[in-house]
Every structure is written in structure tokens, then in C-alpha cells.
Point group: D2
Chain length 243, copies 4
């Protein structure tokens, strides 16, 4: 069974009336409920849970896949917890970064870029298209996902070229966005998935939840052999080679 | 100096009144004129030029970069000329495939896929966004290229994942498309560029011509050492290795 | 359950004494036996089985993953069967190409390149290194696989840049090779895996069999939605856009 | 003209007799001399030059391509200078990281991984093979580069999958290494090139210098349009879309 921890900043849903109405118990709770039938072992954690934002060593060490939603308070995530998340990903933990988590400290540290983009909150339509039909993250998803209203994110999205591009979005106002992207860092797999502004009911939509469930399976750790580094003896005898 | 051959099927511009009005001397002539100031040595060739569609051995052997526009008569390109083009690309000739050339025999042979897609001719707006700002093909191009009216091409576009994705299009009707894609095959470089339906004046637009000029430079042959294949002597002495 | 068909040319093991001694019932039989405990439904087929090389429509349509080993008689595989295999891969069937299958007609058609390489049969040592520790195909494999004696394959290997590079080989004589490569074509996934010359007992080695079993799972079809192509209605109403 | 700054830690060549003998004026001076005929404007800078390691704002702002060699004292490079180098790369400056620079602060920050690897100093032979014959960085290079004696670096090399793999090394002791790798971060291009241990005369070898010169040209800034980020007006009018 895959051990999933859903981390949410959980500030907008307390401070913003629109967000509170849509996600009264927080985005983490809506995601946990929406994924309840998928057979994962799910925990949640939030920024203000404790001094470590609910991401103490014990929690992270027993997490196979971490979901991350943050927006207003990226800088309140401690450097220590950031470093711990990054290290766990490099060691094999899966990481799914949602929406405004693009600007979170762990994602920026793992990408090595600014992760900046264009944006607009105008209640416009988003259409997500699959460009990778054989990818497990797109499994069972129709050619497109329609979101009646979403925040716009537009290119240029300052990320490294993704290892695999799975979804691309069209916005009513004319922009495009690389919405579903995979990355590998160390022994860990990362999926960035764009949708989920706090004032729209995106995370209640079944096809969005299906993509997230697929990506949890895809990012879950597969390798059991840790890389070996450092000084190393030759596999073959040296010497006697004349160029 | 880069030797460029612009190949055009040149049927629509004779048979279709709209196309004839926009490109009275053919798309190849409009492209040759539009690229005239770029410092290339430019020739043109068309399907009905001769038994080899203007692409005899002498022409292809002295071509550094071949541009390809075709639409109605892909199946009239002979298998012999197709094989010759493919071989020249694998040996290092650059190839730029424009618009409906996605279904041409050489492109399909080089991709190994159906190269199929969605389409619609409805005079709608296309907005092309750069997703690779440091790529030489995007040099000097604004964040976006606006095309007032174009044919829609939509995903899923059945190509291998491009080596580099340079441009992505947004269409008014809601679709997206991987509009600027690079591929390497053998010693040759390929650029697929989506725009250019025969009933719209796309190839007179300066930013479109700039992309094509950039891509001619990028696909032009760089390597002077041909790969060596076949039976090969060891570089180091064998023997004496005990596992 | 994954339906696997192991296709083998099955000529060397009849004509060459060394090969016959190592694989008396053919490479296909050794592979089928070696994979017997993995929970797949396994069939075999060979070049001379029938007019369709054992790959009639019924067989291919009920195959999830096809393994391909060929060497001496690539040109005896009919164009019709080649086209059928290519089409099935593009529709979603997994394909695992082993060793000298690099020169098979289906692989060359799917790659769009010559698939040529350097080679040498000198009984030398090969060491295969994992360069992608989080990839499911490398799961459970040590940092390296040691093959006491193998045929050398050396770069430049004329393939498109693989979507993912999983393994790289070092040969005693000084060469390197991209030994484990993934590709996607259409809705299908492809894995090329280098080892397995007919005069060495490579396919009896447990770590080699483990890689093949992993790759069968990885290439097995995942997507259930076929891409839609052709003329397409707009998702959003057109008109009224002024640039 | 491309403005090149060669940065060298310049400690081994003062403290280690072998290194001092081979590079009496430092690796930076050997590289500057070796590249003198290439038409670049070359400056050098070293760790102890001044409080900013010779990389003050004025120097970096007028640098098109920065070369980086470091080994013993990565932690003595200040965080401020590291951040400045990273920012300049993201804005478009080319970066060429040589040999033990894999562990430098700027490279690790741009990769988002540990950049760890296996190593051994045993005077063994390295053979570098080109796996990307049409890449400008491999232009004019033979199929292989022979280094009589080098430090071994072995996989797993903990980097993100490179955007393009250009060279792979074979070591006498049995290892392989992804020796020439390109990456894009923001508007900047990066090339990692493995060879160049301080106790071997690698940087006097013409083919090694040729690769470095090629990579200076390839990483030099090409794009003149900076990406635009932040709140953005729609390109098309919103409203009236009913899903």
C-alpha cells in the first residue's frame, strides 16, 4: 500500500471567503476525501500543524508520495523542512506539486530555476489536452479535461525541459501551459500538475482526481537499490594498456 | 553559405482560387522571396518539375537544408525520391517540414509514427508561444506570434516526443498543438513548424519568416565526421580478465 | 495478466553448433522458461512457423507485449507482418527488441534511422551500468550487471535519442553502448535491450531475465483511450476575435 | 565576439607538486592559452583573487560564457557569488562546468541533485565516444577521444537526465560515465564536460580544447527577448464561453 501525505498550506481556506466556501475543511481534506477509494494510506499535514509543519522526520520517512499545495506563505516553510523534503525526494520519495506549489521552496530547489510564470484570476475556461497517450499518468483520461473556471497560468513557465510532457492547457484568454510534467531527481520521481486554484471547485472533479491518483502510483518509489558513490575499486585489473 | 532548397507540392495554388490569390507564384516563391535577405543560396523545386519532382541526386547532394510543403498529393511523391531524402537527412542534410508536410512520406518515414492530428479550417486565430527562450530557433522572437487566421491543428499529434519543444500554439476553438519541434535522425537535424495553410497569408508575416530563417541555420549540417559502423577492432587489448 | 509473445528467428540455434549447444530448443524457449515464474501468459513464435512467421492477426491482436530476437534473416520477415507489428505497436502493444533485433524491419521502421552500430565477436567482458535508478525497468537491479562474455556493440548507435536512457555498457575492448533505451511511438512503448548473442548463455542469467521481466511490465499497454484524429468541431465558439 | 571568463579554484596547482608541474600557472592559464586562437575575448578569475573570487558584478555582467573548475574548496565560494552566478545563468549566460566542478555550489544549485558519483585516481585510460554526431559540440571531433591517463568518474552520476547526451566515457577499470551533457536553465545553456584531473595534461590535448571551444560557442547567449512573468491581460476577450 502506498503511503501518501497530503501537505497543504491551509491559509486561503481560512482567510478568503470564496475559498472557505468551496473547501471548508481545506484543500487537503477535499483531496483526501476524493482519493479515499483509491486504496492509498492517506495522511494530511499543514503549515501550522507544528514547528515542522507536520513534516517531522518520522512522517517523511514513512511517506512514499508527498503532495504539496502552497501559495501565500512559501517563505514560512523552514529551510530545515525544505532540505528534508528535497533529500527524501532524492532518496526516492515521490513528490506531486500542485498549482501554486510551483513557487514552493522544495520545488524550486529541485528544479534549479525560478519556476516563474504568467497568471490571471478571471474565472476563465481551461482545457487540458493529453499529449502522451501511453503514459500511466494519462491512463483512463479522455483526450481533454474541461475546467469551467480556473486561474490562468501561461508560458513561459521557467522550469527545466520536463523529462516527459503529459498534459498541455489551452486558456480562453489565449495562453498555453505545460500543465502536466514529470521530472526525476536522484532516485525520486516528481509530477507537477497545474490545476487547483483555491476559489474554484477543481479538486472535486473526477478526472482531475483520477490524474492525481495515477500520478501517485507513477511517482511511488520503485527502486530498491541505492546508488553507491565515492572512491571505488576497478571492476577490471588496470595496467598494461598502451595507447 | 547555406544551400537551401524549398520544395513545394504546388497544386493548391493552381487549383484553389483563394490559394492562387494569396500565393500566385506558389508558396515556394513566397518563401524564397521572404528569405531573400538572409544570406542563403536558395533554389526551389516542385512536384511536377520532372520525374524526380525536382529532387534529383545532384540537387539533393548539393542541398544543406531542404524545406518541405505538401498537402494534396503526398502519395505522388515517388518511393525512390522519398528514400533519397530520408538517406540525405540521415547523412546530415537539414530538413524543415512545414504545416501539412506532417503527412509527407519523408517525415512519416523519419518519425516512425502516423503523424496524424486533429484539424479544422475555420479562419480562427492562432497564438504561438515560445517555451524554450534560449533555443536558437526562438532567437529574436517575441514571447508570442499572433496569426489572425489559420487552420487549426490539434493534439494528439502522433509524433515521437520531440528532442526539444520550442513553440506551442493556442487556438481560438480551444485546442493546443506542439507547433515547433526538433528531432535528430542519424547525422541530420529536423524541425517541424506548424503554420502555413495555403489560404492564409502566413508566409508573408515577418516573425514567421524569422523562425524559418533561424531554423535553416539550426538544421544546417554541423558535423564533418561520419560515424563508422561494422566490424571493429578493440581499442584496448582483450584477454586476461577474470570475472 | 500480461499476454507475452516471444518471437525468435530460430535459425542460429539450428545451424550453429555453439548456439545449438547453449540454446538447444532456441532462445525463445530459454526466455519462456526463464520468465515462467513472473506471472505472464507466454507464447512463442518463430520465423518458419507459418506463412506469417507465427504472427497472424489473431496472435498479434491478443498480444500485450512482443519480444523480438532476429539476426540472420531480417529480410525474410514479410513486409505485411512488419506493417502489422508496427501498427499494433502504434496502437498500444509493447515491443521489446533484443540484441541483433536492432536491425529488424519493425524496429527500423519505428525508429526512422539506420540502427547501425559497431560490433565484434571476441568473447569479451561486458559491464552494464544503471544510469536511471528510479526507472521501473531498473527496479531491483544492482548498480551493475556483469556478463563474462558477450558480443561487443559500440557507439555510434544510430537511433533517435531515447526518451529515457536506463543502462549503458562498458566493453573490455574500450567501447561504450546505450544498452537499455525506451521509446514511445503512438500509444505504444518500446524497450531496446542489447545483450544476448546466440553463442553466450546470457539469457540464463537471473539479472538479465529480471530486466526483461521489468520491461515487459513497463511496456505493457496502460492507456484505454484511443487518440481521436481528423476534422474536429471547436470546443469553444469561434468568431468575434479581433487581433 | 564571445566574452569568456575562465574561473579556476587555483589551489591544487600551488599545493600539489604533480599538479604544479603540469599546470605551473594554473589550469585557467593553460585553458586560456589553449583557446587563444579561437577568437574569444578571454579573462580569468580565481578563488583568492578578491573577496568576490574575481566574479564581481561587473565581471559577470560582461561575461557571455563562464568556465568553472573547482575541487578542494567548493565551500569557500561565498553564497552571494554562487547566487549571482546562478542568476546570471538563468538570465542567459552560458556555463561550462569542468571535471570536479560537478560538486561546485552553482552546478548543484542549477541541477537540484547531489551531483555525486564514483571516482578513482589510478592513472587509467579513458576513451570518450560521441553519441550525438550532429551536435555542434561534437563538430569536428573523431568518433572517439583517447586520454592516456585520467581520473575515473563512474555512474551513477546523480544529475537530472541531460537535455542532450553528447559524449560517454569508457574507463579501463570497467566503468562508464555520461561525460558530455547539456542542460538549459531559464534563458541559459549549460555544458558539463568530465575530463581534466589536475595531475594529468588533459587540457593540453587538442581534441579536448576543441570540444571546449565548441561548447563555448554552443552555450553563448542566443535569445534577445527576456521572458515576461506576472499578472497578464488576456490576448483574447473573455466571457461568453459556456461549457
Amino acid at each position: 500500500m502506498i503511503n501518501v501525505t497530503i501537505w497543504n498550506e491551509f491559509l486561503n481556506e481560512k482567510l478568503n471567503d470564496e475559498a472557505k466556501q468551496i473547501y471548508p475543511d481545506g484543500i487537503h481534506k477535499a483531496l483526501a476525501d476524493g482519493l479515499a477509494g483509491e486504496g492509498f494510506a492517506i495522511r494530511t499535514a499543514t503549515l501550522r500543524d507544528d514547528a515542522e509543519h507536520g513534516l517531522g522526520e518520522e512522517v517523511l520517512n514513512s511517506t512514499d508520495v508527498l503532495l504539496w499545495w502552497g501559495h501565500k506563505a512559501h517563505d514560512q516553510v523552514s529551510d530545515e523542512v525544505t532540505a528534508r523534503v528535497v533529500k527524501r525526494v532524492q532518496e526516492g520519495m515521490g513528490l506531486i506539486v500542485l498549482h501554486s506549489g510551483h513557487f514552493s521552496k522544495p520545488f524550486k530547489a529541485l528544479m534549479g530555476t525560478s519556476c516563474d510564470l504568467k497568471w490571471r484570476v478571471a474565472g476563465e475556461q481551461e482545457i487540458i489536452w493529453s499529449v502522451n497517450p501511453s503514459h500511466p499518468i494519462a491512463e483512463g483520461i479522455d483526450a481533454k479535461i474541461l475546467l469551467k473556471q480556473e486561474e490562468m497560468y501561461g508560458e513561459f513557465f521557467d522550469i527545466p525541459a520536463p523529462d516527459e510532457l503529459v498534459f498541455v492547457s489551452n486558456f480562453e484568454g489565449g495562453e498555453v501551459f505545460r500543465t502536466g510534467c514529470t521530472f526525476r531527481r536522484g532516485s525520486g520521481k516528481i509530477f507537477y500538475f497545474r490545476p487547483g486554484h483555491e476559489t474554484y471547485p477543481t479538486y472535486y472533479q473526477p478526472d482531475i482526481l483520477k490524474v492525481i491518483a495515477n500520478s501517485i502510483r507513477w511517482t511511488s518509489p520503485t527502486s530498491i537499490n541505492k546508488p553507491i558513490y565515492g572512491r571505488s575499486e576497478p571492476v577490471r585489473p588496470l595496467g598494461g594498456v598502451l595507447v
